[in-house]
């Protein structure tokens, strides 16, 4: 690990101010931003140890956990999740488990208990891809790390890589689980920066790779995520996260689906579907939602939804299996969600 300056901030405003003292270009690769906030550190320190991230300054924001931004608030209006809340706290919160099961499940099925105890939910949504070529600096080719250098994964071992949302420049999978759950419940993200406060639909936060895979999110350099908000959807209770992986803990998704359904008897009134493990960003499967809207969830509708979800999929040498697996994961998640007692 390279040497860096370490500072602490106790409020979002203080953190943003500290970060703002280093001039930062908006076009710089996300990974190369010279100032990094340190939350749980479970991703940042890892990335620094393997020399992929080399910040000059690290602003420790853990003290913010003592403010409202470390808390969880559930009311009849919905849910407010402070960015510094730990994954384990959210996953184990009784109201979250009961009223927003997809949120709790996506967190419980992620990483390991030790990691969940440390990791914040704000840091979670910003975790970097696990693409092995991105994580190994001995490969010169990686557009995400080094724009224009090429993509070693295209001709490499790309079993874990994405089939949706890929571009010629990058096919790396978005690795997290929680983000899909946020999308399934139409969450918004609250952001503080040098120019004040703003919020956006969470589904807008991540950017597809297109020609600029090094630009990972729509956060400006130095902007801080302060919270996630979820409006009171009566049907959030009928939601579920299904994750398929190579082993039962400590492992990322091969395919996953976050599903929320508003049912009128056995007819789907409204559906939200987000897919993980198969796409370059947390993937809202709008076409699949559309397929089942207003329909009875029979085998035909399920098959149509799965087809629609992967209609634009593109496979690479080692990951063709992800289409069949992704479809089955989605249909099973839909079937099980529809069958939930709420």
């Amino acid at each position: 690990m390279r040497p860096f300056h370490y500072e602490r901030a106790a409020t979002p405003a203080a953190a943003v101010k500290m970060a703002g003292t280093t001039p930062m270009s908006p076009d710089q690769p996300s990974v190369a931003t010279p100032v990094q906030y340190l939350a749980g550190g479970t991703n940042l320190l890892d990335m620094m140890k393997i020399d992929v991230m080399r910040p000059d300054r690290v602003v420790d924001i853990n003290a913010i956990a003592e403010t409202r931004h470390g808390g969880i608030e559930v009311s009849d209006d919905g849910m407010w999740l402070g960015a510094l809340a730990r994954m384990a706290e959210v996953a184990e919160h009784a109201d979250v488990k009961h009223r927003f099961p997809v949120i709790a499940q996506s967190l419980t099925l992620a990483a390991s208990q030790q990691l969940r105890n440390m990791a914040s939910i704000g840091g979670n949504v910003l975790q970097r891809t696990r693409c092995p070529y991105y994580r190994d600096t001995s490969y010169a080719e990686c557009n995400k790390r080094d724009p224009g250098s090429g993509c070693a994964a295209l001709g490499g071992f790309n079993r874990m890589h994405a089939v949706l949302g890929t571009s010629k420049a990058c096919i790396a999978t978005y690795p997290g689980d929680f983000a899909q759950a946020l999308i399934a419940l139409d969450a918004r993200v609250e952001i503080t920066g040098a120019h004040g406060h703003r919020s956006m639909a969470f589904a807008e936060l991540h950017r597809r790779p297109d020609d600029e895979p090094h630009m990972e999110t729509r956060l400006a350099p130095g902007e801080l995520i302060t919270a996630f908000t979820i409006a009171a959807l009566p049907w959030a209770r009928r939601s579920k996260y299904l994750k398929i992986r190579d082993r039962e803990s400590y492992e990322f998704a091969l395919a996953s689906a976050a599903v929320a359904l508003d049912m009128d008897g056995d007819i789907v009134r409204e559906a939200r579907i987000a897919l993980g493990g198969v796409a370059t960003v947390p993937w809202r499967a709008s076409a699949a939602e559309h397929e089942i809207q207003g329909k009875r969830l029979d085998e035909r509708a399920l098959a149509a939804a799965a087809e629609a979800a992967f209609a634009d999929a593109r496979v690479f040498e080692h990951n063709a299996f992800k289409i069949a697996l992704g479809k089955r994961t989605l249909t099973r998640a839909l079937r099980e969600t529809a069958a939930m007692e709420t």
Partner: protein
């Protein structure tokens, strides 16, 4: 018979407290004054000609104490346990990713890393071989331009076993089953990475090497020529070790060689530790295998012949792979176990060991047995299905019984322990084998599977045997010294129990010194499931001698009784049956000391000398064999390909469990490792470059992937083992993977003959089968 009150008890491990309180010192915890840190520049290309190396910039860097290339070495640029073919630093050619091209010692890690980055190497890359079947072709580029042991091209050796008339048996048999099997090259995945500290020995002028290694004497012998030193001037010490599984018999040589030559050059202590990625890329692996297994049987289920061809991926160097002279290594074991644990009158086996540009394949728990016995145990199930017989019944019908002959021509004797029948019975009972299983109707199906194994105790070479040292202190405590290493498997505890029981002091009165060539005689390497038996016997022999010397003194000078009427128990000496009239061991020891009776003993033990004929693979390679049976119940998700092991029941015949908790520890560890071997562990190699070099993408099972691992200890006494013991270190791994594979067939009727059974492989097999059915 003597009543056992220490042997057979689950005594608290001698190293338990220091380990759980964090006081135990592993190699990485050690520092030396003025110590330098080493780094190696490993090959950029797994197969390449080195055109030039320029170290001038690195040498000029502040804080760099030495930069060495092959031309700077003090002694022979080659080492290896069987053949000295692995260079300390590659000179003309690189043969795998783990060949150092240059090495550096500097004042700290940062400087060492910077120096490494400044070294400029020009390579001419060559085609790198991933598949031994390609590398063994006549037109393949020779990986070793000249190799001291290779038979032809990249073929290191071809070993043979011939028994009976195989062709006739096949021609006359009712049923022939022929299949190809593949097993992966896997990493040992020990938690502690490889580390060595080398320092000058101020008393002898030689070197002291401190390293997590499994064979301190072998390390000394292999590396003395590398340092240009006589063996007497090299001392090797292994502190407690964080797992080895066979790998640290070899990998310790790699790190000791680098640290050692740098220490000699700089005259300062040198510390060398591999990163996890370097452990994956550079250290030894299990031999991957490609097996063609043919089995002939009669309709009644009796196996009449086998014909087996095994091709092993040797990787870049011989390591423990196998040569004809000495006839040793993993290759030979694939012959011995080609027929599994069954009595088969006619057998032909051929084993090819072939160089590739992979990490050298070395010893790994099971040493060739898991590979071929995977094939055998799948074949047995196929036979059962073909003739409509229960797979367990086929095994019971064919298993080796008292008086039967193995395919190497060895006659099995109950007096050496033949507990397979009891293992099978206990396992089938526990898993309710006779009761039909509900296979399920939805996408998730259930099944049960079975596997059995045989595994020889010890090393099948002429030198097999052990020495151990026992010293009775004048306060009545006992010191035992062995060169075996303690890597979590519990040998120090086992030795302490054997010593206390045999001599007659309390377990707590024994202290064990281990793995230091300067402090104990040669007990042999800590491999081959041998230590409890070979080293245990040597320790017991030393303690018996000490005991009789002490009783002699007690009889003459204290009790005026024939020594044979005396006993020692819990540190007290008395006439048998009269404990109220006892003398302390300490009192008698003090008297013995002034009576010129020596209280230090070296005990030795040698089994009947192993034999194995290289012409036809016949002989008696082991004095005794361990056996076992493993049943699993699994769930296959046919939509995702994910397999979930619901139950695992393993029974092993260990002869005698000296410490049952330690035996269960070995059994649970082996069963867990078998789940990894069967389901997920697999290095991804692309032209010699390992793609998954961290635990985030090289998968081993977590506790969540494992069911409650049920272990049943079976004891069929080995007349030559200490208190009847046989080896248990490696065997528990062997039959798990085939049991899982057989359970998948039971669940969904799909046969997969390649492990690991990853979700992707399972899905593909389901799809293929559906395609064929259509």
């Amino acid at each position: 018979m003597e009543k056992l009150d220490i042997v057979g008890q689950s005594k608290q491990r001698v190293d338990a407290l220091v380990k759980v309180t964090g006081q135990a010192k592993y190699s990485a915890d050690l520092r030396r004054p003025d110590m330098l840190i080493a780094k190696a520049l490993f090959a950029k290309y797994p197969h390449a000609i080195i055109k030039s190396i320029d170290v001038s910039k690195a040498e000029k860097l502040d804080g760099v104490a030495a930069v060495m290339t092959a031309k700077d070495l003090p002694g022979r640029n080659g080492y290896g346990i069987l053949v000295p073919d692995k260079p300390v630093i590659a000179e003309r050619k690189t043969k795998y990713e783990g060949d150092p091209v240059a090495i550096v010692a500097a004042v700290n890690l940062d400087t060492a890393e910077k120096a490494i980055a400044l070294i400029e190497v020009v390579y001419e890359p060559l085609h790198a071989y991933d598949d031994p079947r390609e590398a063994m072709k006549d037109d393949a580029v020779k990986i070793h331009e000249q190799h001291p042991a290779a038979e032809k091209g990249n073929i290191l050796c071809v070993l043979k076993l011939d028994r009976g008339d195989v062709d006739k048996a096949f021609a006359e048999a009712d049923i022939v089953i022929e299949n190809d099997y593949e097993t992966p090259m896997v990493d040992h995945a020990y938690l502690e990475p490889d580390i060595a500290i080398a320092e000058l020995d101020s008393t002898t002028g030689g070197l002291i090497l401190t390293s997590a290694g499994q064979a301190v004497y072998a390390t000394k012998r292999c590396l003395a020529p590398v340092f240009g030193l006589p063996q007497s001037k090299v001392r090797v010490v292994a502190p407690v070790i964080g797992g080895g599984f066979g790998g640290k018999e070899d990998s310790t040589l790699d790190v000791c060689a680098v640290a050692g030559v740098l220490a000699l050059k700089t005259r300062r202590p040198v510390y060398f530790e591999l990163t996890r990625a370097e452990v994956f890329r550079t250290t030894g692996k299990r031999h991957a295998s490609y097996i063609k297994h043919r089995l002939a049987a009669n309709r009644d289920g009796k196996i009449v012949a086998i014909d087996v061809q095994t091709i092993l991926d040797k990787g870049a160097y011989v390591s423990m792979g196998g040569t004809k002279a000495p006839l040793h290594g993993v290759t030979m074991r694939t012959l011995v176990y080609a027929g599994g644990t069954y009595a088969i009158p006619n057998a032909r086996a051929r084993a090819y060991s072939v160089f590739t540009n992979h990490p050298y394949s070395c010893a790994f728990r099971g040493f060739g047995a898991p590979q071929v016995q995977f094939a055998v145990e799948c074949q047995i199930d196929e036979l059962a299905h073909r003739i409509g017989m229960d797979p367990v019944a086929v095994r019971t019908l064919n298993m080796l019984k008292d008086g039967d002959m193995t395919i190497t021509g060895q006659i099995m004797k109950e007096s050496r322990g033949l507990g397979l029948g009891e293992c099978i019975q206990k396992v089938t009972q526990r898993i309710k084998w006779d009761q039909p299983i509900d296979h399920g109707k939805g996408p998730v199906r259930r099944g049960k599977g079975f596997g059995a194994f045989i595994y020889g105790t010890g090393i099948p070479l002429a030198f097999e045997g052990s020495s151990a040292f026992a010293n009775l202190e004048l306060d009545g405590t006992l010191n035992v010294a062995v060169s075996s290493t303690e890597m979590g498997q519990g040998i120090a505890t086992t030795v302490a129990q054997l010593a206390a029981q045999t001599f007659g002091v309390k377990y707590e009165s024994v202290d064990v010194v281990f793995s230091d060539t300067g402090r104990s005689p040669d007990s042999g390497p800590t491999v081959g499931s041998r230590s409890a038996v070979m080293v245990g016997n040597a320790v017991a022999e030393a303690c018996r001698q000490l005991r009789s010397r002490l009783l002699e003194v007690a009889g003459k000078q204290f009790f005026q009784a024939d020594p044979s009427t005396l006993t020692i128990k819990d540190g007290l000496v008395y006439v048998e049956g009269r404990p109220e009239n006892a003398e302390k061991v300490a009192t008698i020891a003090a008297r013995a000391f002034v009576s010129q009776v020596p209280l230090s003993v070296i005990g030795t033990w040698f089994p009947p000398q192993p034999t194995f004929n290289s012409a036809d693979g016949q002989g008696e390679p082991y004095h005794a064999y361990g056996f076992g049976a493993h049943a699993v119940e699994i769930e296959v998700d046919t939509e995702t390909g994910v397999i979930n092991v619901l139950r695992s029941v393993l029974a092993c015949d260990v002869g005698k469990a000296i410490n049952p908790a330690i035996v269960e520890g070995q059994m649970e560890g082996g069963a867990a490792q078998a789940v990894g071997y069967g389901l997920m562990e697999e290095p991804i190699m692309a032209a010699g470059v390992m793609q998954n070099t961290g635990f985030h993408n090289y998968m081993i099972p977590t506790t969540k992937d494992l069911p409650d691992l049920e272990s049943v200890i079976v004891e069929h006494s080995n007349e030559l083992g200490p208190y009847g013991a046989k080896g248990i270190g490696e065997p528990p791994l062997i039959a798990g993977a085939p049991a899982i594979r057989n359970a998948i067939y039971d669940a969904i009727g799909v046969k997969i003959n390649i492990i690991p059974l990853t979700p992707r492989r399972v899905l593909e097999a389901i799809r293929q089968q559906a395609g064929q059915a259509r």
